[in-house]
């Protein structure tokens, strides 16, 4: 599967000249040589520090004030004291974990199943394009597709009525769990392809002979999948699910377009909570405090889960 091997221009070059690796003939001061990789990294690092460290520090600073437009009033840890008692904050945290967790589990299972059935299929190229399509729509467009299908166009209700599964129109946004389900359906529909693409590549890259041998021994496909394919894919699954998991925790667009947090905040995610506090209610200090708490959480997750996932994924 490694079709991306770099083209080696003039394969003879390497052997034609004596190989004196590690002894560059260029005259360059040792100090500059030592600093060189840092100089290469400097522009990117400065850019990232400005765009992450500066906002981080700004958020910490602003979180210590009550901000009313141009008036900043010092409050110390007042915002944090309020936020830790704010039921909406904890609800947003819980909703993010709940909606994200269910959605992630569902799309992982679907992606594994379709990847397992598709990767050896002669039509794999076709399946891949078809299964990929939902991911290629702008997230805001996908949110509108499902908003129309569930709420405004009543298509889902209509289909359910035709199937005899429900008596009348379902008001999806009136029920806590139906509203959450809307968000989950939209997220699963759009992002299962992300996991699918990665899982298929992993399955195609694995050693086919072990599986073939097991099949000749008469092992059934669920057994082969469970005992051979799944363990071999483990590092890949960890990386892919981690990346997807990180993105799910930032869920905003669907909430903004489809539910706006209704009913009663049952679909408000952390991102939407920060947005609402900052840009709807103009409690910028309060929003910054929430940002700082979310940042701390992100750093903890990054240092534990992600670091490990990417180290196991490299091998």
């Amino acid at each position: 599967m490694r079709t991306d091997a770099p083209p080696v221009p003039a394969g003879g070059v390497a052997s034609a000249t004596p190989n004196r690796s590690g002894t560059p003939p260029r005259r360059r001061s040792p100090a500059l040589r030592k600093a060189f990789p840092y100089l290469l990294l400097a522009p990117a690092m400065i850019y990232l520090l400005v765009i992450t460290l500066y906002p981080g520090l700004f958020a910490i600073y602003q979180s210590l004030f009550v901000v009313k437009f141009v008036n900043w009033t010092w409050t110390g840890f007042g915002n944090y004291a309020l936020i830790l008692k704010d039921r909406e904050f904890w609800a947003a945290l819980g909703n993010t974990a709940l909606i994200g967790g269910i959605s992630l589990a569902v799309q992982t299972v679907i992606a594994l199943a379709i990847a397992y059935f598709a990767y050896r299929d002669p039509l794999i190229r076709g399946w891949r394009i078809v299964f990929l399509m939902p991911m290629l729509f702008m997230p805001s467009a996908v949110a509108f597709i499902w908003k129309l299908a569930f709420n405004d166009g009543r298509v889902i209700s209509d289909l359910l009525i035709r199937l005899g599964l429900t008596g009348g129109n379902v008001d999806w946004l009136a029920s806590v769990w139906l509203a959450r389900m809307e968000l989950i359906v939209a997220d699963v529909w759009q992002w299962t392809p992300f996991l699918f693409i990665i899982f298929v590549a992993a399955l195609q890259g694995q050693d086919q002979e072990i599986e073939e041998a097991a099949r000749l021994d008469g092992a059934s496909w669920p057994k082969i999948f469970w005992n051979i394919s799944l363990p071999m894919m483990r590092p890949v699954i960890v990386v892919a699910v981690t990346l997807r998991g990180i993105d799910i925790t930032t869920m905003f667009t669907n909430v903004f377009v489809m539910t706006q947090g209704t009913p009663g905040g049952a679909t408000e995610t952390m991102s939407y909570f920060i947005y609402r506090q900052g840009f709807r209610m103009f409690n910028f200090g309060y929003a910054s405090a929430a940002s700082v708490l979310m940042l701390v959480l992100t750093i903890i997750i990054a240092q534990t889960v992600v670091k490990r996932a990417f180290h196991s994924g490299k091998k």
């Binding site: 599967m1 991306d4 000249t17 522009p43 166009g153 991102s271 947005y275």
Partner: protein, 280 residues
């Protein structure tokens, strides 16, 4: 042999049921949404959904006459292309350092770059908003360009780094003994050799930039800076309610070029999406 064939036959039926079923799940909403884009507004929101609408170019006429759609498209293109160029200029040297040099703090710097990808946009939204406000950059495509570049820099660096790690060391050693300097080697050997990686990174960065919603929503407030992604949300404003057929049409206008780009880099997609961690 008999049992093997039997178990294969069973799973074949199951296989096409599963794959066919999911293909329908993927395609039906898309086809239905396409039909929304080509029907009159009166047939979009009705007491009973209409599955076989009358064909109409209403949405198209509305887009052309009432909305500066060309302006949105232009904003998207400038911001996205600009951000990808910034990313490549910053990421190629950084990836070169991370993949080719031994130095103190290499792992930590690499991980720091990776971790910026994990930051939720909402966390930095408030500070970034104030930053651009003081810089006088609110409602401008340049602000969007800078922000898209920042969002994607980690991803672009890691993808290119992964492809650079694959280049055999002998290649540059040979050039080095011929007297080539480090930057010459980067330009003449490394960059051409990892071109597939650079293209993959650029395409994936472009897609994420086109999709970006939250920052664009905060920074853009008029058609000066509205992109395709946020222009969609704009169609909801006003007394007309949500103009779904126009939204559908704009969605497909953005969908087609993305589809073409992705088909071009199909083989590299899984590697790109995992930032190089999974080599597909």
């Amino acid at each position: 042999m008999a049992t093997a064939r039997k178990s294969r036959g069973e799973s074949l039926l199951l296989r096409y049921l599963v794959l066919g079923g999911w293909a329908l799940v993927c395609l039906l909403p898309i086809l239905w949404f396409l039909s929304i884009g080509f029907r009159p507004r009166t047939e979009v929101i009705t007491p009973q959904p209409i599955y076989w609408p009358t064909f109409s170019l209403d949405a198209w006429h509305l887009l052309v006459s009432d909305w500066p759609i060309a302006q949105y498209l232009r904003n998207s293109v400038i911001a996205v292309v600009g951000s990808v160029i910034i990313d490549l200029i910053l990421a190629i040297p950084a990836a070169y350092a991370l993949s080719r040099y031994e130095f103190k703090g290499r792992e930590d710097i690499g991980f720091y770059i990776l971790s910026t990808r994990m930051m939720a946009p909402a966390i930095v939204a408030v500070p970034i908003f104030f930053l651009f406000k003081t810089m006088g950059l609110l409602d401008s495509v340049w602000a969007l360009m800078l922000i898209y570049a920042a969002i994607n820099l980690s991803l672009v660096t890691w993808i290119i780094r992964s492809y650079m790690l694959d280049i055999p060391k002998e290649l540059e050693d040979a050039a080095r003994t011929d007297g080539a300097g480090d930057l010459t080697i980067l330009r003449e050997i490394i960059v051409p050799a990892c071109l597939p990686g650079i293209i993959t990174a650029a395409v994936i960065a472009a897609i994420f930039a086109i999709n970006e919603f939250l920052f664009t929503l905060l920074i853009a407030s008029t058609s000066n800076a509205y992109t395709m992604s946020v222009a969609l949300a704009n169609f909801t404003g006003g007394s007309d309610g949500i103009i779904y057929n126009a939204i559908a049409l704009v969605s497909f206008i953005a969908f087609v070029p993305i589809l073409i780009l992705v088909i071009l880099i199909q083989k590299h997609l899984s590697r790109g999406l995992t930032m190089g961690a999974v080599k597909g």
